[in-house]
């Protein structure tokens, strides 16, 4: 079903602040019904923000571990935009996932990586990006 939805670009109703940030990352448009086309980054964002069954507990059951996210991205590889996925990982302070896709995909540095990391207080990622891309 997810593949069908991504393929047919069905609409996503925007209600949360994070969805507007994702619209910016996707470079998409929002229509007069507050809707935009759903893309893989929307799924990634939901995966990383709902790592645990209860998002307000720190020791609750993990439903979406890192390897699950990696598997999911492999399954839907044809819809994957590496820079967009990395931005979502940075925004959600997922250092290991961001690092993995930064090195695996060899994407070119974008200033958004840096600003998103600072906005999210993800200083481990900030220092890594500075170390790796500073010239």
């Amino acid at each position: 079903m997810i593949h069908h939805m991504l393929k047919h670009e069905i609409m996503l109703h925007i209600r949360e602040d994070v969805s507007y940030k994702l619209v910016k990352i996707k470079g998409a448009q929002v229509n007069h019904n507050q809707q935009t086309t759903v893309q893989l980054v929307d799924f990634i964002s939901v995966l990383v923000t709902n790592k645990r069954e209860d998002i307000f507990e720190t020791d609750g059951e993990v439903i979406f571990p890192h390897n699950h996210i990696v598997e999911f991205l492999n399954t839907h590889n044809e819809f994957m935009e590496a820079t967009q996925a990395i931005k979502v990982f940075i925004m959600s302070r997922k250092f290991r996932l961001a690092l993995q896709y930064l090195t695996e995909t060899q994407v070119e540095f974008e200033i958004d990586f840096f600003t998103f990391a600072i906005e999210a207080n993800a200083y481990d990622i900030v220092f890594y990006l500075r170390h790796r891309f500073e010239e």
């Binding site: 997810i2 047919h8 069905i10 609409m11 996503l12 109703h13 969805s19 939901v46």
Partner: protein, 151 residues
Amino acid sequence: MTPMNDRIAEQTIEDHKYLLELVENRAAIAYFAVANRNQSLFNALKNYVKEEIKQQEEEDQGKDEAELKKAKKNNKANSKMEAIFKNIILDFDFMSIVMYPELKNRREFVHQAWLIAKKTENTELKIAISNDPYFYISRDDILVLLKTKDD
């Protein structure tokens, strides 16, 4: 093909009562009646549901409170879907769904039908609804799709 009038629609519902046991079938009939602009079928289903509710209320009057509570507890899993179905068949005006699909009602109708299709994992219905031009999902729906590994 003979166009469906109220009498034929009522007869169709009467002949297929065995299908109406399942909420997913009722939701499918309601959705396809709207998608095909079949007001007679939609109204026939609506009347059938109203009749069912009336009968249920009459039956419930005879039961005591403890019995009712027990029955409610047993039907808890289904009751949410039943509530959604009653909402789509009783609360939406047919004309507002098919004549003014640009407005909110059609989108909400399709989305609620999707909730039933997803909950019952009826693949054909899910595909049909997701191809509707007024279909949308939210982040909550994405979470459900991911949790159920509906790749």
